[in-house]
Symmetry: C3
Amino acid sequence: MRVATYASHSALQILKGAKDEGLETVAFGNPRVKPLYTRYFPVADYFIGGTYPEEELLEFDAVVIPTGSFVAHLGIELVEKMRVPYYGNKEVLKWESDRNLERKWLERAKLHLPRVYEDPDDIEGPVIVKPFGAGGGKGYFLAKSPGDFWKKAERLGIRDKEDLGRVQIQEYVLGVPVYPHYFYSKLNRELELMSIDRRYESNADAIGRIPAKEQLDLEINTNYTVVGNIPLVLRESLLIDIIEAGERTVKAAEELMGGLWGPFCLEGVFTEELDFVVFEISARIVAGTNPFVHGSPYSWLRYDEPVSTGRRIAMELMQGLEEDRLDEILT
Amino acid sequence: MRVATYASHSALQILKGAKDEGLETVAFGNPRVKPLYTRYFPVADYFIGGTYPEEELLEFDAVVIPTGSFVAHLGIELVEKMRVPYYGNKEVLKWESDRNLERKWLERAKLHLPRVYEDPDDIEGPVIVKPFGAGGGKGYFLAKSPGDFWKKAERLGIRDKEDLGRVQIQEYVLGVPVYPHYFYSKLNRELELMSIDRRYESNADAIGRIPAKEQLDLEINTNYTVVGNIPLVLRESLLIDIIEAGERTVKAAEELMGGLWGPFCLEGVFTEELDFVVFEISARIVAGTNPFVHGSPYSWLRYDEPVSTGRRIAMELMQGLEEDRLDEILT
Amino acid sequence: MRVATYASHSALQILKGAKDEGLETVAFGNPRVKPLYTRYFPVADYFIGGTYPEEELLEFDAVVIPTGSFVAHLGIELVEKMRVPYYGNKEVLKWESDRNLERKWLERAKLHLPRVYEDPDDIEGPVIVKPFGAGGGKGYFLAKSPGDFWKKAERLGIRDKEDLGRVQIQEYVLGVPVYPHYFYSKLNRELELMSIDRRYESNADAIGRIPAKEQLDLEINTNYTVVGNIPLVLRESLLIDIIEAGERTVKAAEELMGGLWGPFCLEGVFTEELDFVVFEISARIVAGTNPFVHGSPYSWLRYDEPVSTGRRIAMELMQGLEEDRLDEILT
């Protein structure tokens, strides 16, 4: 067994974690990035060009660890048909990518969700508008009324209600972004809190450095393109809420789609009343785990050795191999 | 001897640090959080329900490590009467909780303090208003004039000067928040700089991500509820100022209240002129040390092994035990 | 051979790194800070008072590791004449300190640069104005038009075009600050990405916490005085761009000035279009490496042991010593 992943997103960490567990590693993707994974950071034992070189991966006896980049580049339909073993439950893909199914899942998990507007003419408070399939938050915008929505949506080519299928309109909940990273071990039936980050977004995290007066002069619009990640710890009294939210999410997934295992992330904000309001779920490893290559404050508490989410995945694969239970976690 | 603490705030780090030093650990508090300390993060050897289960703690031969949550839940009067040994100087409690005594202490230490207004009608520049006993900065607000103060104070039920005892009105000093974490070893008579953080506050750290124009539309008020902590290092040329401020704070405490030992934190901002203006002292471990479970840039410099503030406390207890000097540090 | 540096900036890390490699260390500088380097953080085996105690350093068989503080305090002319061996290429100093030469260098490296205005009356969009030789960003200001420029420049005593030599006027590019830290090993002819940070600036990182309405009332001006640094990781798909930018910068330096080796930093922002726009180069260790005393996410990927930039320098010196090639890297 070799550990393979698409050369982007969190591949450095995934491949490093696999090597730490004694596994050989394969990166595949754009040949331009080969030096990143083999020379600058020598974490890939092999590099293969191509978005998904199926035959080579089969020959390598590879297990693919999915990331957001992999799923985005290959597309859900092709992922579902993959012949190379895949770590995780592929059933999750359609629940996560369909806004209605995703909401059904998160509501079943009793998470606090922002109101979603089907009709922009119902908008009665601040909203954030998210184009579907937008990578890295590009194109998100704020609006405060129906008129404001239509004016700004026009920039995305949305001119009438028939175009609304391309965006989601959510209540804008004022709070600080917090992204807890979970790992659910299907083999041990245990949830773990691996780490927490906040994203670093352009230009959303730049505009606050400009005085209000000058912002008004410059007529600045907000954008939420993810540029990086900043490590964070959460107020300790909030951890149990976050963990219970994760447990309910796993339980709901077992009821609805045959389970959710491996890494996942609830993406939300904490309001000033200390409510955790969840906007989205990422049902696989998120790039927010990247600050923690050498472990996080939370993984050090549990493991007392450097365990990244990438390494935790490899630990699970090794356990599956040793207990002859890989079939339970690969699909 | 076992190390015990209230199950919240920075207990994970305190208990982990004690175990690293070979001590057995006890967490006590709300039974709901028991899994956090025993299963998700197995740092407590024992968990006891209750805010302060005195008899059980005595039977366990426990030493209590106080945190802000413990003192807030139990109340200063009860803490002062505790029969279970307490790490630190209980005399500090009243100096820290009385705004006049606290100011006397910090002035004796020659720290730069913001002006405090006794009478809101004297306000002649921006102020920040802090309700006493507000957990996590909830209810803080800014005001820029007497009229502005009275208007906003009404939301807290403050309508005339008789209600002013419930709030502190401080000059608002514009600067970036910096929280240096100190440890004073009474056994070695040495001050140490353990780590530095900044808080992550809702909604104060959220509003800057909203363009000024939309902020004005939405009529946003600020709140300073602590949600988490972000690790920080300080410009190296400022470290000696910070350390000397800590030394003077310990010296003033020796003159005024029989000493300050163990962890403490000076909470302030650095202005653009690089003045460190101090708002408050926390005379015990602060949650800002939580990012540093596996050591901070500063503790790695000194110890060359992973020393959190929690572990540093346990090291002091072990030294007291070995040198038969526990009576010098427990009260 | 002993490793020496000026006692400020990133000296703690440099000296700690040297000790980790088994070298003796010397700090020199203001006697007031001696305890910082010998007692609070015992990283200097010797401390010598003075900005550049040449005779003592020669006697100690010292190699000086330059930092921004050292160069600023001693002055470029004196650095160029130093008799104590200096790690790095002194030819770089004049290219870095002359705005025209610096630009020529960065343009040769095909980096994205902001437009520079020679004449403020040409300003046709937001600009940032930087006084030369301003430590820590003090005195920087934003302007949006020629009139706005002249009004604000007057505060710095700039009243007509003859005074313009004292400032640089750059296009203000809206994006989040990102500072990648590189190390170029001249001995191995290899570029390494060591770590990434963002600066923590007063008051630029404070004003966003004040609601727009109150900012307008308070008439706040921005300042960019560096107070500290916050660790960061970059979106993984951007790493190859950053690394290639570093490679081109080294190559251009080889063509123009005989090379650039050791640590350096490209200081820029990422825009919402994910362009990395570079404002300046620091051709030596930057203080942004200070969060990574125990290694960064990137150096852990490469080395699998705690390698700070300071330690990486010491590793290079040790290799030079062992291979009898110190003359290639000292000037």
